[in-house]
């Protein structure tokens, strides 16, 4: 998957988890949880969805790298090259 596809996928997963939130103006370089109502259980839902859909297991020590949209795309791009 290319970076814009990964970005779209992450937004789709977030929308599934927090369907009441408006994601249209989500900034890429700001912590996601500072922009919308999302708690730690919601974040775990995102990690679970990545595991279920793509078999990608994100270790807990890497969670901080996925706190922003840009960070998430950068982290996942090498792992999703063949998908």
């Amino acid at each position: 998957m290319k970076s814009d596809e990964i970005r779209a996928m992450i937004l789709e997963v977030i929308h599934q988890i927090v369907p009441d939130e408006d994601l249209s103006n989500l900034k890429g370089d700001v912590r996601i949880r500072d922009q919308i109502e999302m708690d730690s259980m919601d974040f775990l839902d995102i990690m679970m969805e990545l595991r279920k859909r793509y078999g990608i297991k994100v270790p807990e020590e890497d969670y901080m790298q996925l706190s922003t949209l840009d960070g998430s795309v950068a982290y996942l791009e090498p792992l999703m090259k063949g998908i």
């Binding site: 988890i17 369907p19 009441d20 939130e21 109502e37 259980m41 839902d45 679970m48 595991r51 279920k52």
Partner: protein
């Protein structure tokens, strides 16, 4: 002057120990508020249909059609349970109906007491089903499982939704749970633990497959070509239970508080009793059921002849219906003229909600003097015949001052409520 002051003081004290119903919120397979529910009961309208379940395919069930987004956001619905959604809907509806402004009430003095038959089965069965496709890898077991399956979940979700900081818990009481939830609320008010009780019961049971499978293998799951005719209490061809979801929550207050704010009063709870059969896991004990009814009447300070309507528990099982009729004769006499009806024939067995929901469908009788009917009685079981069994059509009666509601659960748990038409 002293005598009048003493009388006023006695009246005031009495109003402190009388508990009344001042708000109702409900969802049933045939109605999402008391007006709609009552209209459909009087019109003979069932709410039972068919659903698809895991492993069992199509089954007959009663499903509610309230709008969960009326009081919850989409994320709340997703995060919580169906029982939680039902509880939140009913609690909010009850408070709105009571015309209490929650902003003016001390929320630490509100208690939530909800009866449930079971809780956690739905979430657990669904998770096992979900991870089956991942070769039962528990790394993919939901992190939401624990807060969803703790037994207090439905009551707890109400506190989160409404910002209530008083006590909350559920009461596990099988099919008597809704009745026992109300009794608990009443008792906590009398103890002074809370000033307001949101009390009743909820059910999300149709979302399981296990309950259906167990009833089927027990020979107690109803079947009929027409789902709306499947729940047939007192009929010779009755063949079991229709599993349903539902919810009913009452706002309960002391009479003194209700009068002080000019609340509408649906009725006064004047008697109740809970006892146990101590005889069988499943088969009911008519003698103990009779004892429970007599105890409730004694607590109410009335005799059997004072009761105008008995709303039965009867679920449509071959033995259960007969046992209850035998129990009624034991408490009320062989030739009793009390009006007798049944609500499950319309909506199936709403499990944890049943005791509260079935009673509430009768409360409008205090005003309209109509005993609603039992539907689906095409060929009356002789052992269930009573002079004033109300079947297939509603019955206009002279007056309704007292209603008695029966709720009986597995492991031989019996609960009876007596409600009186309110008069000061």
């Amino acid at each position: 002057m002293q005598c009048r002051q003493r009388e006023e003081k006695q009246a005031k004290m009495s109003n402190e120990t009388r508990i009344v119903i001042t708000g109702i919120g409900l969802t049933a397979p045939n109605g999402n508020n008391l007006t709609e529910f009552r209209q459909n009961l009087l019109a003979g309208k069932s709410g039972v249909g068919k659903i698809e379940t895991h492993y069992m395919g199509e089954v007959i069930a009663g499903i509610c059609h309230f709008d969960p987004l009326k009081y919850q956001g989409k994320k709340e619905v997703r995060r919580g349970t169906r029982a939680g959604s039902i509880a939140i809907y009913c609690a909010n509806e009850a408070v709105v109906d009571s015309k209490l402004a929650l902003t003016s009430v001390d929320k630490s003095r509100i208690g939530i007491y909800l009866g449930v038959t079971e809780h956690g089965n739905v979430e657990t069965e669904n998770e096992v089903y979900n991870i089956k496709q991942f070769d039962y890898n528990v790394d993919l077991w939901s992190h939401h499982h624990n807060p969803r399956t703790v037994a207090n979940n439905p009551a707890g979700e109400i506190t989160l939704n409404m910002g209530i900081t008083g006590p909350h818990y559920t009461l596990g009481a099988a099919c008597a749970a809704g009745s026992i939830g109300i009794i608990q609320g009443l008792q906590m008010l009398l103890l002074g633990e809370v000033d307001l009780a949101l009390a009743g019961g909820v059910s999300e049971t149709p979302n399981t497959f296990g309950v259906f499978a167990a009833f089927k293998n027990e020979g107690a799951l109803a079947s009929h070509p027409n789902p709306q005719k499947a729940c047939r209490p007192f009929d010779k061809s009755r063949n079991g239970i229709v599993v349903s979801e539902g919810g009913c929550i009452y706002v309960l207050e002391k009479l003194s508080a209700a009068l002080a704010r000019g609340a509408r009063i649906y009725g006064e709870i004047v008697g109740y009793a809970i006892n146990s059969d101590a005889s069988d896991f499943i088969l009911p004990n008519p003698q103990r059921q009779s004892e429970c009814m007599r105890l409730a009447l004694r607590k109410a300070g009335i005799s059997p002849g004072d009761i105008d309507i008995i709303n039965t528990h009867a679920t449509g099982t071959r033995e259960g219906d007969k046992a209850e009729c035998q129990a009624i004769r034991g408490a009320f006499g062989e030739d009793t003229e009390v009006y007798i009806n049944n609500t499950k024939s319309f909506i199936g067995h709403t499990m944890g909600a049943a005791g509260a929901l079935e009673l509430v469908g009768n409360l409008p009788s205090f005003e309209d003097n109509i005993a609603h009917q039992t539907i689906n009685v095409d060929d009356l079981e002789p052992d269930c015949a009573f002079k004033n069994l109300v079947i297939n059509e509603p019955k206009k009666v002279d007056k309704v001052d007292y209603i008695l509601n029966n709720s009986f659960g597995m492991l031989g748990l019996n609960s009876v409520l007596v409600v009186k038409r309110f008069s000061e």
